[in-house]
């Protein structure tokens, strides 16, 4: 499955990129699985995604819980808790 990934704030900095398009392995079906896969992929992923408690996600631009499905999604974003306003 082809998926656009976006990273923000310190997740972006540690990933070393703001976005990428990936070809997901068949077993990755939710946000938590995506995070596991990215963390195992390379050192940048391991560093950016180590602190699971401080990671938040959006699927197709809607905030979701970490166990949310990504089946059929076009875009997933990973980022720290928001701090606007």
């Amino acid at each position: 499955m082809r998926l656009d990934l976006l990273y923000f704030a310190w997740v972006r900095e540690r990933m070393g990129r703001a976005h990428e398009t990936v070809e997901l392995p068949a077993g990755v079906t939710d946000v938590a699985g995506l995070i596991d896969w990215l963390a195992a992929r390379d050192e940048a992923g391991a560093a950016a995604l180590a602190d699971r408690g401080r990671l938040r996600a959006a699927v197709d631009q809607a905030f979701v819980a970490i166990d949310a499905s990504i089946v059929g999604a076009r875009e997933v974003a990973l980022f720290p808790p928001v701090t606007g306003g």
């Binding site: 720290p80 701090t83 306003g85």
Partner: protein
């Protein structure tokens, strides 16, 4: 009338107030403005956001406020990019026939914006940049509206 702006430009409160006041039935306008504090050692503040998702989130928050309090207008203007101490980060306004609705809706707009919209603050102090941590009190403030 819902007005959402995410912009690198300085926020013009006089212009935003005039728009909110001009809506049908406005007898009361409540606003909230968030500023980069000038006195706590921050050199610059930088706001990052998630283009598209941010505007959609702000639209949702504003639409919920309009429906809940029958507002004439809900305005959310949020600045992004680098800004100096004293600058306005965010401005929200709620216009209604009477004050209770305007005041409550204004508090709702800023409370929900804090938790529901994808913005991230990075501040620079003494040349060192750090990402601002989210505050638990923000979740508490947002959840009181549920």
């Amino acid at each position: 009338m819902i007005r959402i702006r995410v912009t690198p430009e300085a926020i013009d409160i006089a212009a935003e107030m005039a728009l909110a006041e001009a809506t049908a039935g406005a007898g009361a306008v409540a606003t909230f403005t968030g500023l980069v504090r000038a006195d706590d050692g921050v050199g610059t503040l930088e706001l990052e956001h998630y283009p598209g998702a941010t505007e959609a989130a702000l639209e949702r928050v504003a639409a919920q406020a309009v429906a809940r309090w029958s507002l004439g207008a809900a305005t959310i203007v949020h600045r992004v990019g680098p800004m100096a101490p004293g600058a306005r980060i965010v401005f929200v306004a709620a216009a209604a026939p009477h004050r209770a609705a305007a005041l409550d809706a204004c508090a709702y707009l800023i409370d929900r914006l804090k938790t529901d919209a994808p913005f991230w603050k990075r501040e620079t102090r003494d040349g060192e940049a750090r990402w601002v941590e989210a505050r638990e009190t923000d979740d508490a403030a947002a959840s009181r509206w549920e």
